[in-house]
Symmetry: C3
Subunit: 470 residues, 3 copies
């Protein structure tokens, strides 16, 4: 049983030249405030500011990065306490769940999830040992005890973890009540919403009609036409902006962008209202909606984010039993050059607009995304995302993107997490990997140490703050 007193040089290349430069660069950014411009933390957490119930509820149950790995090795989701859609009983003994997790913690060797968890246990909970079968219950009890103290209330942690600003991700029809509660509470933590309209855009989804009703209700606009639909979207963006939002986001399957005529949009919209929209209609509708969103961003100044290329809810059995976001979203090949052509031709030359594109298809880094971002004033590249938000994933991103687009057409780091306590661990990993990347360039005499210090701060703080107008 090894100690996890985290080594100060962890994640750096062991070559002494690189390691020492990397450590020095890291020291320069390690204590910078955290800018978290894109993520999925529940704002309720910070509105209510209640203690986290227990380690299992805090760490395992909400984190699909984690339980999908256990599931892949044959451990049933029920035994991990993942709630079912129909309310069927699942394991309720959280100590038992924690023990299963500890017994199988070896599965995370070499994974970012493992690296984050070790950081979280060591740095947030001062646990001095690597989690294993033997120490599982002791560690559970230690965390449990700490969670009861005032020091571990969400707002206290927000400050202790040095978070300057945190963006949540919220549906178009969300009333942002928790954001309102936070604002009205007098607490000074900055938590901002992000406008993500997917549910009202996916016209072939079975809930779409319901979502349109919600949108109509909250915007006070009876949505009987495409024009009114767009008017409602604009109204919601305005409301989000008034609540502090600086950005929008869209999860789209493909990246196809295309301007429909008003008649075409209206025709598809009416088909959708009557439940007759086809997949092809949906593709065109989304392609056009991306054009609309860019146009609205030109008007209202919100930064536009696009997260494409995921086959969501791939595992039908898991979807039916456990619902959305259960680790069964699988990337697909994604094309940007041809698909973004209309969008970039119409909006790409606008230097006052910011469109941030993400990808899970690493083949597009050097082939499509870096050449596009290295040319268009409006286009910036989001960091290595999701499965690639990892030591090697971030390294590949920097190595494939920087030589064509430089670092100044990228936007720093996103933690993109649902797991509140993983935020500092994720930023720390990113700061270490970027420091190591820059150190490699210093050691190869490509840049000077002075330049690396400036670049390191840009990657850790400045670029995110600037790109997201925070």
């Amino acid at each position: 049983m090894g100690k996890t007193m985290l080594n100060k040089y962890r994640f750096f290349d062991p070559d002494k030249t690189i390691r020492d430069i990397a450590y020095n660069l890291y020291l320069n950014v390690k204590d910078l405030p955290i800018i978290s411009p894109h993520g999925h933390v529940d704002p309720r957490l910070l509105a209510k500011n209640k203690p986290f119930p227990d380690p299992t509820e805090l760490i395992i149950i909400p984190d699909h990065y984690l339980f999908r790995m256990l599931y892949s090795q044959g451990i049933p989701m029920q035994s991990l306490g993942i709630p079912t859609v129909d309310g069927t009983e699942v394991e309720r003994d959280h100590k038992k769940i924690w023990q299963i997790f500890a017994d199988n913690f070896y599965l995370f060797r070499g994974t970012p999830t493992g690296m984050w968890l070790e950081h979280e246990l060591a740095e947030v909970f001062c646990i001095q040992e690597k989690l294993n079968s033997q120490n599982a219950m002791n560690i559970y009890d230690s965390i449990q005890e700490q969670l009861q103290s005032k020091e571990f209330l969400p707002r206290v942690l927000f400050n202790r973890l040095n978070i300057e600003v945190l963006s949540t991700t919220d549906g178009a029809s969300d009333n942002l009540e928790y954001h309102k509660q936070i604002k009205e509470s007098g607490w000074n933590g900055r938590v901002v919403p992000c406008f993500r309209p997917d549910a009202v855009v996916n016209i072939t989804s079975k809930n779409w009609k319901l979502e349109i009703d919600k949108l109509g209700g909250i915007s006070g606009i009876e949505i009987t036409s495409y024009k009114k639909y767009i008017r409602a979207i604009k109204a919601r963006r305005e409301f989000f902006k008034s609540m502090g939002a600086v950005s929008t986001d869209q999860g789209v399957y493909g990246t196809y962008t295309h301007r429909l005529s008003e008649n075409e949009s209206e025709a598809i919209f009416q088909k959708a209202l009557h439940g007759n929209a086809s997949e092809e209609d949906s593709r065109f509708f989304t392609a056009n909606f991306l054009m609309e969103m860019a146009a609205m961003s030109v008007e209202d100044g919100l930064v536009m984010q696009i997260h494409p290329g995921v086959f969501r809810n791939y595992n039908t059995e898991i979807l039916n039993k456990f619902g959305l976001d259960k680790g069964a979203d699988i990337p697909v090949q994604t094309e940007y050059t041809k698909n973004l052509h209309e969008l970039l031709n119409e909006f790409g030359n606008n230097k006052d607009l910011t469109i941030i594109v993400f990808t899970l298809d690493e083949t597009t880094y050097s082939r499509e995304l870096a050449p596009l971002a290295g040319h268009y004033p409006a286009l910036k590249l989001g960091p290595a995302w999701w499965f690639n938000d990892s030591l090697h994933g971030m390294k590949r991103f920097r190595e494939c993107v920087t030589e064509t687009a430089g670092i100044y057409n990228t936007v720093g780091f996103n933690d993109d997490t649902r797991a509140f306590l993983s935020i500092p661990a994720r930023h720390d990993l990113s700061r270490r990997i970027d420091s190591n990347y820059l150190a490699g360039m210093v050691a190869r005499h490509i840049i000077s140490t002075d330049e690396a210090l400036i670049m390191g701060k840009a990657l850790a703080y400045d670029l995110a703050k600037k790109a997201y107008k925070l």
Copy 2:
């Protein structure tokens, strides 16, 4: 002319920290028995146990990895003794062929073929010099002499090379006579067959009808319908299993999986029997056959392997003159997420089933395969295959796969070779590269040395043994 006394640190990163850890990890696995769960060694070799005729016959003529490189530089296949389909004379002077090979051995600098050959010559034949034009005949004679001794009979080598189990790959209608001879000979070496039905699945291949007749003959089932065809397949699987098989394998062009109705399957099958099946029919037939194979594996417990994405016999001239497997099989882009959807939706959640998927399209490692294997209990990833079974290929595989799927959703190493004597060289390279990969993580403080020792053994031995139920 440099010596090839192989350096003990070969293939490790030269950084002293990494190198020393890697060497230590390597020492821990270097003498573990070899599990060879997938390959193409001819079982006749071990059934007959005759001496290998000469160095050229042993090393050059059967190995398309090797002669394709000579061919690419303008050396005619005939001059290398590769037998022709129509029996046209080819070079028969094996010393002359060996000399050509030695003269051009420099072409293999930096290639795995070169690395394996150096290992084979040094470790199996104790040759102390790198092969070149000058020493070619001396080395030929030295090998030739050794091949005559009892120490170099195939079964003696099997033991000396420390092979615990060797799987061959055999057609559906193979009577497995050599496996039977091996069993009945009383020799204790474990050689098992693997059921590969490609020839009876490719309904548009010109030999298909003939293959169906063979299948009917050997299974004693007159194959007049799809149902009888499936019954014959099941009977053959049962026979293979009785002969020790633990797995099946399929080489498919695409990975599309799709369940046809019984009527649809029957209709296509009848078209095929009448020689009227189209390429589209073939695609659906194979898609459905993959579903059938998974269902049979659920019943009989055989591990299911899929090797997709190769444009076989790409070079028509070479195919016509020299036949199959002559170094002219070229990979094509391969898609898994969409194509495997039906298969994984129906069978992926079954934790008692094992489906091992391979790829020659490295872009799918981080984008599709690791996310799929990191979720589905039934799915495991085969090692870096064929062109990627190499120092950098294996490195890319580990770096792109581990962070999402961990190492425990992979299955250790396959040598996949036709060249019997290259088996230890290939496993040795793999063990060195994995040791170096793990050492990199130890040196970066991601895992402890104790953990690395366990992981190293898993990668070299345990995972293959477990995944293939050996």
Copy 3:
């Protein structure tokens, strides 16, 4: 403000073992003459042999690698002096442009453009400081002064930069007057043309008819039929060859190759002459033209180059305002295995033919290109191209290609530049990266130092000379 006295170890891995071997290998090739078998330097430069006007005209205005990065950060093209199509006024104060460039030189940190520029300023102009806002005018003046001296006349530089041979790239109807002037001037520098017929092949381009007229005019053949068109092409190739050309080149969108019947070719050609050709016609026409070009190369011995996979003039606004080659060409996914099948089946086995293929789609390195080049005698791989002509890009190329195809199926380095003075910088970077790559293999005991010395010379000089028959 750091000094740019360039470090002798720059670009090498900092690990002392690798670094020292790399430096030693580099010293062995550093002073070899430059073979530049593919590029876009204007032959007028060497025909006229006039002084370069000023630093901005020399370095910024002709180099889209450079100004596209400034544009991506919101700096208008006009303010950089990029001439407009319609003659609209742009910034004419070249000192002011240079200042903007210097103010934003930080954008190039970590990019090859930055690395080349630092080499160019330090090695060609002996500037001892890194360019920045403060020293911009001093550096401008220093370069300006040097440019006036005889030492900086193009032909003097050609010799001083140690260029053995330089290939330009020229349209099918070019009269090669500047090549003629160079020949007739008695100067001994070797500058050869390369036949690039794109303008007369793209039958749907709006200028095609005009280009056909030009081709007819210069070849003295009235091009009224496909046969006459091919006859004119052959005549031009013959003329180019007589002027020293050793190669042809084609920029194609896709790589599809397909033999049309004479009737089919003629039919499409007639449609094109009448302005009725469709995109589909164009695709087939180009596919067939690639077959024709290979057949002509078999006859006349010119090396055939293919540069595919670029969406040219992606940004319509930039195209309309500033014209071609303004940094708005974006790569697209490219497929070789299926598309080159007909070409390779007909011509690939011809060992007297050389077809050199390039790619911007790095996914094809290990999957398609290395397996193809590692088999076909006629096929060789061009070096990492354009966006991938960079430290990491070249590293990826070597690591993905060598293990399957070796180095002897590649053709050394191409600088592919329009910027005359960047030639030595680009070759130097390439020689350093290849030395470092080979050193990594020596340090890992894969090859000996003696072998690395031979391979290093091959990569820096021999392979280009041989492949291009120079």
